[in-house]
């Protein structure tokens, strides 16, 4: 390092430390979001320059002269050596989704500080390490998938256990994301109209790019965006015309059934008709909106209204149940570490890497970018009035359905707010009510509307920006629902196909219809249960989703650790062992508490026992209204408890397998892992 570089990095560290001190130590007065942005960016740069460099050069020992799968199997299609900036865009678009936007918003109930700390620490030491390591392993194994690598490095049983884990996470992800859409659109004619319009728009785009001008992605996307903007603007008219609004003013259960039906139909239609065009539109909209929000935050530099810490760090919060440890680390999910990324880092990206030296930029850097999205979501949730935040994220069972009552309850929690403020915010964004819009998307939309409208359009456009934000989230969540149903179907076919071989034929239309119906039934069950849950669904479902996602991350990191041992690089294995231990600790504690905690707000079994006992005595406990509702609550509690127990069992068994494999590798004096390529191939 030259003297100039040393001075520069010292300056980055000092600026970062000062900003961080302002963020962490200011109490009582609002902090400007700019400090948070500067602190995060400095941390990302330092982590990327020093820790990530250490990991790739020392722990992995990347070799710039080694031939990558992109060259070895170059076919101009799947395997193509690709410019690293282009590939970074591809990888980021594949990993970015609803997770980093929703998790931080929910975590804001404890104040912005605990969540921010975990987003930053988690990404540097766990999330980005996982993404980069899985990418590295896959590059060295011809772009093999996570499942294949677990099978070949840790044995078929471990592979099977991980496979069940992936199927479960897929089901829970689909249910919880669909629930976010349902909660955002129920009783919102403007939102529902705009989102429904995406279906005919996608059909038009699909037909255009298939028959009119085949393959013209730019043109079809421009048409799609133009139609989308028209739908967005016309949505206001729909919501203000009672005759039209009645058509789109839908209840939660209705919306849930529509989405389940949609998921089934869309997943059996040809991909070019609906899925692909909407996927293109949602990808561009997603990346564009993230950039726009980043610009908005830098230009507007809003003040954070939410305190650094709220009294809900003790676990008594209304948004989700549970204390800071382990539930905060479960709630944030994808913004700091996401198991799902391990599937993507071992998917298409490793087949296009030009040089092993690019792994740091694409794997580690891509995840840092994702983490920055989470920081922006945290800012968006913290710039709105805390009273409004809690009004939007607490279930009707807690705050009621009347603004006056809600304001009284929330003021009682110490976040002084008047009923007028609550109705005014709803009016500003063109909605009839903002109470109990749980699921984070509406909260994020209010935050984004307040940031974006202060530099583009002013308060008059707040309604448009709010519904734009809802549209952008709903669009890519529905694309995920469609694509995810196919993934789920494939896994079910694979699993059932072991017993009934004929079911494995994925080209068969009958098999696809049956498979799609099965997978829709699976996630649809959890979705519907969440929608009719009197506690608001997110309360119950999000911790399950978070546990599943962190569980998958723990599995991926266990694989990484095992392979480092097999490579005889156990000296450096702590880079993956430390985050593995932390994630195992969090998921196992959370899993056990969800099953067995005596606090019925947290533990499913104690909740079920309380309702079961009351039902046996013929009493009805709120929020249930009938004895059959009581029975349903008890049944759902046991299903959820079984899931949480299963997640815990999967993590524990993977730890055992990982330990056995690592010890085997340690006893062997030579490298026991099978890598493809290397010196021999390079010499040819």
């Amino acid at each position: 390092m030259t003297l100039r570089e040393k001075l520069m990095w010292t300056a980055v560290a000092v600026v970062g430390a000062i900003s961080f001190a302002v963020v962490a130590l200011t109490r009582g007065e609002p902090v400007n979001a700019a400090w948070l942005v500067v602190a995060s960016v400095c941390i990302y740069f330092i982590a990327y320059r020093f820790y990530a460099l250490f990991i790739v050069t020392q722990a992995y020992g990347v070799d710039a002269r080694r031939v990558t799968p992109a060259y070895r199997h170059n076919d101009g299609l799947d395997y193509v050596p690709t410019n690293r900036y282009v590939l970074f865009g591809h990888h980021f678009a594949a990993i970015a989704g609803a997770g980093p936007l929703v998790g931080p918003v929910l975590a804001a109930q404890m104040g912005y500080l605990p969540g921010t700390l975990w987003i930053l620490a988690g990404v540097v030491f766990a999330g980005a390490v996982q993404d980069a390591t899985v990418l590295f392993l896959s590059v060295r194994r011809d772009g093999k998938s996570l499942g294949e690598m677990i099978r070949s490095e840790m044995g078929p049983v471990a592979g099977g256990v991980a496979g069940i884990g992936v199927l479960l996470i897929c089901v829970i992800v689909l249910a919880v994301l669909a629930l976010v859409v349902v909660n955002a659109l129920k009783g919102s004619p403007w939102g529902a109209f705009t989102v429904f319009c995406t279906l005919p728009i996608a059909l038009i785009m699909g037909v255009y790019s298939r028959f009119v001008r085949p393959g013209r992605i730019g043109e079809m996307s421009a048409i799609g965006v133009a139609l989308l903007v028209m739908a967005l603007i016309y949505g206001r008219t729909v919501s203000e015309t009672p005759a039209l609004a009645a058509w789109f003013n839908l209840s939660g259960p209705d919306l849930a059934l529509i989405i389940i039906g949609y998921g089934f139909v869309a997943s059996v239609l040809p991909v070019w008709l609906v899925l692909a065009p909407r996927d293109y539109l949602s990808t561009f909209l997603k990346v564009g909106t993230i950039l726009l929000l980043a610009i908005g935050i830098v230009v507007v530099r809003p003040e954070l209204q939410m305190p650094a810490l709220t009294k809900f760090v003790d676990g008594s919060g209304p948004v989700w149940a549970g204390s800071l440890f382990p539930f905060l680390f479960i709630t944030i999910a994808c913004g700091s570490v996401s198991g799902w990324h391990a599937l993507i880092a071992s998917g298409t990206t490793p087949k296009m890497i030009e040089n092993e030296n690019h792994i740091r930029f694409i794997g580690y850097g891509g995840m840092l970018m994702e983490s920055f999205v989470a920081i922006m979501a945290m800012i968006a949730a913290s710039v709105i009035h805390p009273g409004v935040y809690f009004a939007m994220n607490s279930s009707a069972g807690l705050i009621g359905v009347d603004p006056a009552h809600a304001a009284e309850v929330i003021s009682g929690w110490g976040f002084a707010v008047t009923p007028d403020v609550l109705t005014q915010v709803a009016h500003d964004v063109g909605e009839s009510s903002i109470l109990s819009r749980t699921g984070a998307a509406p909260t994020l939309a209010v935050g984004m509307a307040s940031i974006l409208s202060s530099f583009l359009g002013g308060p008059a456009l707040a309604g448009i920006w709010y519904h734009f934000a809802i549209l952008f989230e709903a669009l890519f969540i529905l694309t995920t629902v469609d694509a995810g149903t196919r993934v789920c179907r494939f896994m079910i076919q694979d699993l059932v196909g072991n017993v009934v071989p004929a079911f494995k034929a994925t080209e068969s239309w009958t098999n696809n219809v049956i498979g799609s119906a099965l997978s829709c039934a699976l996630w649809g069950y959890f979705l519907y249960q969440g929608v009719i849950d009197p506690l608001g669904g997110i309360w119950t479902m999000w911790p399950l989703f978070g546990t599943a996602n962190q569980m998958l991350a723990a599995i991926a990191l266990i694989l990484c650790t095992v392979v480092l041992f097999k490579m005889k690089r156990e000296r450096f294995a702590w880079v993956t062992i430390v985050p593995t231990l932390w994630l195992v600790l969090c998921t196992v504690t959370a899993g056990l508490e969800k099953v067995a905690s005596p606090d019925m707000r947290v533990g499913f079994v104690s909740h079920a026992l309380r309702f079961g006992d009351a039902a046996a005595a013929g009493r009805i406990v709120a929020p249930a209204k009938t004895l059959s509702e009581m029975g349903r609550i008890v049944f759902n509690d046991y299903v959820d408890a079984a899931l949480a127990a299963l997640f815990t069992a999967i993590v524990v068994s993977m730890v055992v397998y990982g330990f056995i494999e690592a010890r085997k590798a340690l006893r062997n004096a030579r490298s026991t892992t099978v890598e493809i390529g290397g010196a021999a191939v390079a010499a040819q």
Partner: protein, 71 residues
């Protein structure tokens, strides 16, 4: 605008367009054609339309381990 600046801007625009296409699973067509010509001379090369359809199907062919973004 000087020629050097102009070509630089054009290069940047091309890169953005390539990134956008790869984001939705369509790699560079020119690269594909060049690859086929160089390594498989005499064998058929897909037209852009065929190439686009092949890539579109492949993006959602889950069986080949193509998981899509979720979170």
């Amino acid at each position: 605008m000087s020629d050097a600046l102009f070509s630089r801007v054009r290069f940047a625009c091309e890169m953005v367009a390539k990134t956008a296409c790869l984001m939705v699973g369509v790699p560079d067509y020119e690269t594909y054609v060049a690859h086929r010509r160089m390594n498989h001379p005499g064998l058929p090369v897909m037209t852009y339309e065929e190439f686009f359809r092949e890539r579109q199907e492949a993006r959602y062919a889950v069986g080949k381990g193509r998981f899509r973004g979720c979170c």
